[in-house]
Assembly symmetry: D3
Homo-oligomer: 321 residues x 6
C-alpha cells in the first residue's frame, strides 16, 4: 500500500482526498508540482519546489514558517518515496504530486474533516502509469493538431503558476479527440502564436538554431529549462521567440518536452509532415545527452515498460483520445 504525506502526517493513499469545501475544489485554487525520478533519484526537485513557492506567493497562500524551506520539502519528498519504494518495482520510477491549496473556505470551517489553513498533500506513484504506451512515439513521433481552444492569456489567469484552474486544457483535449487520427493538442495563445500542448512545451529547430515560444502564455516547464541548460553545456544555439504555425510547418524538426517523458519527437502537425516525417538530429541528440546526464536510456526505459504491459501499440495520454 502506497502512502501519502498530508500536512505533516503519513497516511494511506486511499486518503488522498480533498474536501469539497476546500478552496481547491471550490475555485481550482491549488498550486502543485509533479516530478519524476531517474533511477529513483528525484530530478530537479529543487527547481520544482522553488516554482511551487513562487506559485504560492503569487496566490497569497501562506505556509507554516517551519516548512517555508526548500530543504524541508526535499526531505519529506525523499522520506515519502523511500517509504513507498517497497510497493514499487525495481525498474519503476517515482512520480510525486505535491498539491498545496488554501484549505477550507472560512464559512465551512466547522465541517468535519476539512482542513482549515493551507492544505499540503504529497502523493507518490509509479511513473510508468503516465507514460504507458509512449514507447512507439520515440520511433514514429507524435501528431499534433492546433485546436480552437486558446492557451489562457497571462492577463487572465497567469499560466506561469502551476495551478488547477485548467479546464481549458481539458477543452483542448476534447477538441483534439474530434480530429481524424491519433493526435495531441497544440494550443495557440490569444495572439495566434504557438503556446504549448496540454502538458508539454514545444520546440522546433531551423537552420541550426533551436526555438521555443517565449515564456509568456505558457507554463515554463522544468524540462524546458533543462533543454536550455543542455544547450548551454553542449553548445547548441537556442532562442525564445514568438513562433507561428507557418514557422512550425516549415521547421527542420519539432519536439515536445515534459517531465514524465523528457522529450518526444513531433513528426506531423495539422496533417503536414515535418521534414518528411523524419525524426530530427537535435531531438535524438538531446534525448541521448539527457539520458547520459541522468544515467538512463529514456526511450529504452519507456519501451521496456510497454513491453511488460503488452502495450507496444500505444495508448494516447489524454482521457478523450
Amino acid at each position: 500500500m502506497r502512502h501519502i504525506w498530508h500536512n505533516g502526517e503519513i497516511k494511506p493513499e486511499s486518503e488522498a482526498k480533498v474536501s469539497v469545501y476546500d478552496s481547491a475544489m471550490l475555485f481550482g485554487d491549488t498550486v502543485f508540482e509533479m516530478t519524476r525520478s531517474f533511477n529513483k533519484v528525484h530530478f530537479k526537485l529543487n527547481e520544482h519546489i522553488e516554482r511551487l513557492f513562487h506559485s504560492m506567493s503569487y496566490l497569497n497562500i501562506g505556509i507554516n514558517p517551519d516548512w517555508a524551506d526548500i530543504k524541508f520539502f526535499q526531505r519529506i519528498c525523499y522520506q515519502l518515496s523511500e517509504l513507498n519504494d517497497k510497493e514499487f518495482q525495481q525498474d519503476d520510477e517515482h512520480r510525486l504530486m505535491i498539491n498545496v491549496s488554501r484549505g477550507a473556505l472560512g464559512i465551512y470551517k466547522d465541517v468535519e474533516g476539512v482542513v482549515n489553513g493551507t492544505n499540503i498533500m504529497i502523493t507518490d506513484f509509479p511513473l510508468r502509469w503516465t507514460v504507458n504506451g509512449f514507447g512507439k512515439y520515440y520511433d514514429y513521433g507524435i501528431n499534433m493538431v492546433i485546436v480552437n481552444q486558446r492557451a489562457l492569456s497571462h492577463s487572465q489567469i497567469e499560466p506561469k503558476i502551476k495551478h488547477r484552474s485548467r479546464l481549458y486544457l481539458q477543452m483542448a483535449n476534447i477538441q483534439a479527440s474530434r480530429f481524424k487520427g491519433d493526435n495531441w493538442a497544440l494550443m495557440l495563445d490569444e495572439d495566434g502564436y504557438i503556446a504549448e500542448g496540454t502538458g508539454d512545451n514545444i520546440f522546433m529547430a531551423k537552420n541550426g538554431v533551436i526555438y521555443t515560444p517565449e515564456g509568456r502564455n505558457i507554463l515554463r516547464g522544468i524540462s524546458r529549462q533543462f533543454i536550455f541548460d543542455l544547450c548551454d553545456k553542449y553548445g547548441y544555439k537556442y532562442c525564445e521567440k514568438n513562433i507561428e504555425p507557418y514557422d512550425l510547418y516549415n521547421a527542420d524538426e519539432v519536439f515536445i518536452t515534459g517531465t514524465p517523458f523528457c522529450i518526444l519527437p513531433v513528426t506531423k502537425i495539422d496533417g503536414k509532415e515535418i521534414n518528411h516525417g523524419i525524426i530530427g538530429d537535435y531531438t535524438l541528440q538531446l534525448l541521448k545527452i539527457w539520458g547520459n546526464e541522468v544515467g538512463i536510456d529514456i526511450r529504452k526505459q519507456i519501451k521496456n515498460w510497454d513491453l511488460q504491459n503488452n502495450n507496444t501499440e500505444g495508448v494516447s495520454p489524454y482521457i478523450f483520445k
Copy 2:
C-alpha cells in the same frame, strides 16, 4: 450529523471529499450548482439542474442514462434535505451544493478510492453560514471596487458554464482585500465592460430602466433571470446592455443579486457614492416582491440570523477580507 448523496449512496458529510486523482482536482474540471430554499422549499431547483445539464454537455461529461433527468435530481435533492433537516434549526434554510466531475483520470483508475466515471456529489448545509453578517448590508449597502483582475473572456473559458476553474475569482477577492475599507470585488471583462462580482450579478437603474450586463462574459445567474421574471410580472422595464464604469458611477441605484442573499444594495463604487449613498427604490421594491413571491422577508431572515450569531457588525463574505 449531516449527510451527502454520492453517486447513488447516502454518506456522512465527513466523506464529502474528492480524490486528488479526480479530474476535478487535476483540472478544475467540475461543474456544479448551489441552491437555496425558502421556508425549506428549494427555489428554482429545476433551473439549477437544467443549467447543470448544459454545463455537463458543454464539457462532454457523460451521465448514467437513468439519471439524465431533471426529475431524478429533484427527487434526490429533496430526499437529501429531508434526511438532513433534523440537523437544521427550525428557521434554517437548506443550501445544496451539487458537484459533477469527470472522475479519475484514466491513468489513475486503479488507485484505491477513486471514482472511475462521472462523479456526482450533493451536499447540504445551512444557508446561514453563507450570509453570516450580511444583515447590515440591507441597511447600508455594500462597497464595490473594480479590481485589476478581469473576468474570464468567453473565448478563453466559457463563464456561462458553472465550473471550478475559477482561480480568477480568488485573485479578484485577494485584490479587493488590498483596498482601504470593506469592499466587494467587481470585475471588468477584457473589453473594459462591467462583468460581475465574484459570486454575484450586478444591476443598475437609470431614468426608470433597470440595466444589467449582457450575458456574455458572466455566469447568467438564476437570480438574475428571476429579476427579469419579476420585472416582466410587475411591469418594470429592463435591458441587457454593455455597461461601463462611467454608467455605474452615475446610476440612480445599483444592486447585486446572488442565490444566497437574493438582492443586496450597492451604495458605493470605487469610493464614489451612488446617488449620495441612498438605497434605491427598485432595489427595495424588488427585494420586497421577491420576498412576497417566496413567502419570506429576506432581509429580516438574514438580520435575524445575525442577531442570533451576535454578528450584527457583519463580516465580509470572502476569505481575504
Copy 3:
C-alpha cells in the same frame, strides 16, 4: 453550349476566363454575386445587383455610366439565361455568377487579351451542380464544426462586400475536412462570436425567438434578409444578436441559409446534438413558406435531382471533404 455575357458581348462558356494580369487574379480584387432561379424566374435579382453596386463603390471600381443601372443588369441576366435555357433541362434552375473586377493592372495594359478597365462577366449554369447530394440534409440535418480559422474581421477586409479575397474560407474548409465525420465548417469571428459558415448564414431559435449573428463580420446574405422578410410577414419574432457557441449548443433548433439551398437544418454542432438531433419547427415552417412564396417545393426539387443523379447518399459541398 452555354454562353456568357462579357463586357457587352455574348461568348461561349469556354471563354469564361480572366487574364492573370487582371487585378482579379493579382489581388483577389473582384466583386461578385451568385443567384438562383425558382421555376427559372430569378430570385431577388434586384437585391443581388444592388449589393454588387455597393461592393463596387466600396472598392472604387468604376462602371460604364450606361451600365450603372440595376435595370440594365436585370435585362442582361434575363437575356443570358433565356439564351442558355435550351442547354438546361426542363426541371433545372439557373445559377448566375456575376464577376466584376478592376481589369488589367496599368503596367500590363498592352498584353494581348487583357481587359483594360472594369471587367464584367456573367456566367450561367445549372443550380443542380451546386446542391448535388444535398437532399439527405433536409432529412438528417448537417453537422457543423467550429474550426480554428476565424472569420475575417470587418476591420481587416470588409466581409460585407462580396469579394474574392476569400482564402480564409478555403482554410476553414480544409480544417473542417480534418475532423471525424462529414462536417461543414462554422467560423467564429475574432471576438469569439459565431460568424458564418463558408457559404451560409446561421440562425438559431430559442424560446420562440429566431436569432442570427449581427451583420458585422459576415456577408449579409440575401437569403438571410429573406428570412427576416418572411418573419415579418408571418409573424415570427427574430433578432440580430451576438451569439456564442454556448448559446448555439443549447438552442432549440439551428439552421443555415444560402442562395442555392435556401435553408438546411443543422442537427449537430461540435459533436453535440441540437435538441436530440430533431429538426425544428421553425426550420420546417420557414422552408415551407419559402417554397410557397416561390412556388417550388425546395426540398423535393433537390431530392429529385439527387435521385436523377443516383446521389441520394449525398456528397458534401466543399472541395476538401
Copy 4:
C-alpha cells in the same frame, strides 16, 4: 510573341488566363512568385521556388510528384525565358510570374476549358514594365503615408504565404491615392506596428544598426533576406524588431526593398522628412554592393529605361495614383 508555360505546355501569352470556375478566381486561392533577372540570369530563383512550395504546402495544394522538385521549376523557368528572349530587348530583364492554384472547384469540373487539379502557369515579361518611371526615386526618394488599412494579421490570413487574397493591398493603395502628393502606402499591423508597403518591405537605420519589422504580419521578402545576407557578408549590424511610427520618423534613414527595384530610398513619411530628406549612407552602400553582387548598376539600369521611355518625371507604381 511571348509565351507562357502552362501545366507542361508552352502556349502564347494571350492564353495566360484562368477560368472563373477555378479556385483561384473563386477564393483568391492561388499562391505565386514573381522574380527578376540580372543580366538575364534569374536571381534567387531557388529561394522563390522554395517559398512557393511552402505556400502550397500551407494551403494543401498538391503537385504532380514529378514536378515537386525545385530543380524542375528552375529548368522550366530558364527554358521559358530563353524561349521568350528574342521578344525582349538586349537590355531588358526577365520578370517571371508563377501562379499555382488548386484548379476548378469540383462542382464545375465538367465545364469546358477548366483545369481539374493543380493549375500551374508561368508567364514572362520585361521587368521595365514594373519599374517604369522609378528612376527619379533613386535621386529623391519616395514619400510614404501610413494608411488606415491595416496589414492582415497572421491569425486571419497568413501573410507569409504569397497568396492572391490581397484585396487589402488594393484598399491601401486606394487610400494612399487620396492623400495630397505622390505617395506610396505603408501599413501598420493590427497592433499598430509598422508592417510593410503594398509590395515592399521596409528598413530603417538608427545609430549604426539596420532595423526591419519582425517577420510576423508581413511577406518575408526574398530581397529582405538578401539585405540580411549582404549585412552578414559586409559586416553591417541588423535586427528584426517591432517598429512604431515614432521610430521611423526619427530614423537616420529609411528604405524599402522589393524584387523589381531592389532598394528605394524613403525620404518622407507622413509628410515628415527623414533626416532632412537626405538619402542615407546604408541605402546607398547596400544599393551599390547589391549591384556589385549581380553585376548591374541597378539605379542606372532603371534610369536608362526611363530615358528610353521619356519617363524621367516618373509615374507611381500603383494603379490609383
Copy 5:
C-alpha cells in the same frame, strides 16, 4: 472688454490664464463644458452643468460645497453673459467655456499666482468665432475622411468625461489636413466602429431609421441627446448601434451634430458621395424643428454672420486645414 468668472471673482478676459504648475497644464487634468445661447438664452445649460459634475466626480475633483449646485452655476453663467453682453453685437450669441481643474500640484503650492485647490474659470465669447464660414456647409454638406488615428478607448481614458487630454483629436485633425480637398476628420474606435468627429457626433439614416454610434467610445453630446429628444417628440425612429464604414457609405443620409452649429449635413465620406451628394430629409427636418424649438433659423443665422464677415467661401473649423 469681455470678462471672465474665476473662482468667485470677475476679471478681464486677458486674465483667462492657467499656471503651468496647475494640474490642468501638467496632466491635461481639466474637465470642461462649452455652451451656446439661442437669442442669448443659454441652451441646455442644466445638462451641461450636470455633465460637468459627472466629469468632476469621475476624476475626484472636489468642489466648494456652496458651489456644488447646478443652480449656482446657472446663476453665474447668466451673470457673466449679462455682464459681457454689451461687448457683443445684437445678433451675437454667447459661447461659454467652463474649465474646472484640480489646481496647482502640491509641490508647487507656494509659487506666486497658482491656484491651490479646484480652479474654476468661465469665459464668454461670441459664438460666431466658432462657426465662421460654416454657412456653405448647410448648402453643400461637409466631406469627412476616416483618419488613421483611433478614438480613445473607454478603457484607456474615458471619453464620456469631457476632459482636456485630447491630443488625439489634434492628431486626427492633422491627419485629415493631409488628404486632398477640404475635409473633416472622422475617427473609428479601436474595434473599427465609427466613433465620432473631433468635435461632433455622427448620425446616419437608413430605411426610415436614424442611427448613431452607441455611447461607448465617444463624448455623449448634449446635441446628440437633443436629437433623441426631438425624435421622441416628433415621432422619428432612432437607434444607438455599432456602425461600420460600410454602413455609412451606403446610408440614405448622414449628418453631424455639435453645440455651435447644431446639425451639419455630410455629403461625402472617404471620397464617396452619400446618396449622390443630396442632403437628406431627416437632416433638413431636424434642423428645422430644432430651429423652431429655439426660435432661431440656425442656418440663416450662421450664413448671416458669414455675409457680415465676407466669408461665404467658408473656412474649415480646425486648425490644420
Copy 6:
C-alpha cells in the same frame, strides 16, 4: 523672485501662465521636458532638448527657424538658471520645465493676451520641491501597486512623445491612493505587460541581468537611457524585454528611475516583498556610480534636504496620497 523665459522674453515667474484659449489648455496639446542639475550643472540637457524636438516634429508643432537648434535651447536654459540662481540656496539644484504648445487656436487669435503661433515657456525651480521627503525611500524602498488604469497604448496616443494629455497618469495616482498603505502606482499596458509608473521607468534584476520593459508603451526616460549607458560602461548586462507581474514578483531586485531622484529601490509590489524586502546590489551600485559620474551623493543630497525640511518621515510624491 524667480524668472521664466517666454518666447524670447524674461518675465517674472508669476507670469508662467497659459491662456485657456491656447491649444495646450484646449487639447492637452503641449510637449515638454523637465530637467535637473547636479551641482547646478544641467544633466543630459542635450538629450532632453533632442527629445523635445522629436515630440514637436511628431505633433507638427513648428518653431522659429532661428530657434530650431539644440544649442540655442541650451544657451537660454543656462542663462535662465544663472539669472535665477540668486534665488536658490547654495545646495539647491535647478529643475527646468520647458513647455512648447501650438499656441492659441485660430478662432481665438484676437483674444487679448493669447500667443499666436508656437508658445515656448521655460521655468526654473528648486529640485528639492519635487523630491521632498524621498530620503527615506533610499533606506526602505517604495511600495508599488499595479492599478487598474492601463498605460496608454502607442496606437492611441504615442507615449514616447512627452505630451500633456496625461490624465491617465492622474487616474493611476487616484487609484493607487485607494489602496492600503503608502503606494506608488505601477501600470500595465493594454497587453498586460508591465509598462511604467506615473513618472518613472521600472527595472528589475534577475540572475545577473538587468531588465526593463521594451520602449513601446512608455516614455523612454533619459534616466532609463543613462542606466543603459552606465551598464555599458561598467559591464552590467541589461536587456529590454516584455515583463509580466509574475516576473517582477520573483525578481532579485527592482528599482525605478526618474530625473529628479535618479534611482529609487522598490521593495514591495502588490503587497509582496521583493527578495524579502532587501534593497539589491545593482540598485546600490548603480546609484553609487551615477553619483560618482555627476559628483554628487544623490541619496545624501536628498536626505539632507529632508533634514532641513524636518521631513524625514517622508511624504509621497503624488497628489492623492
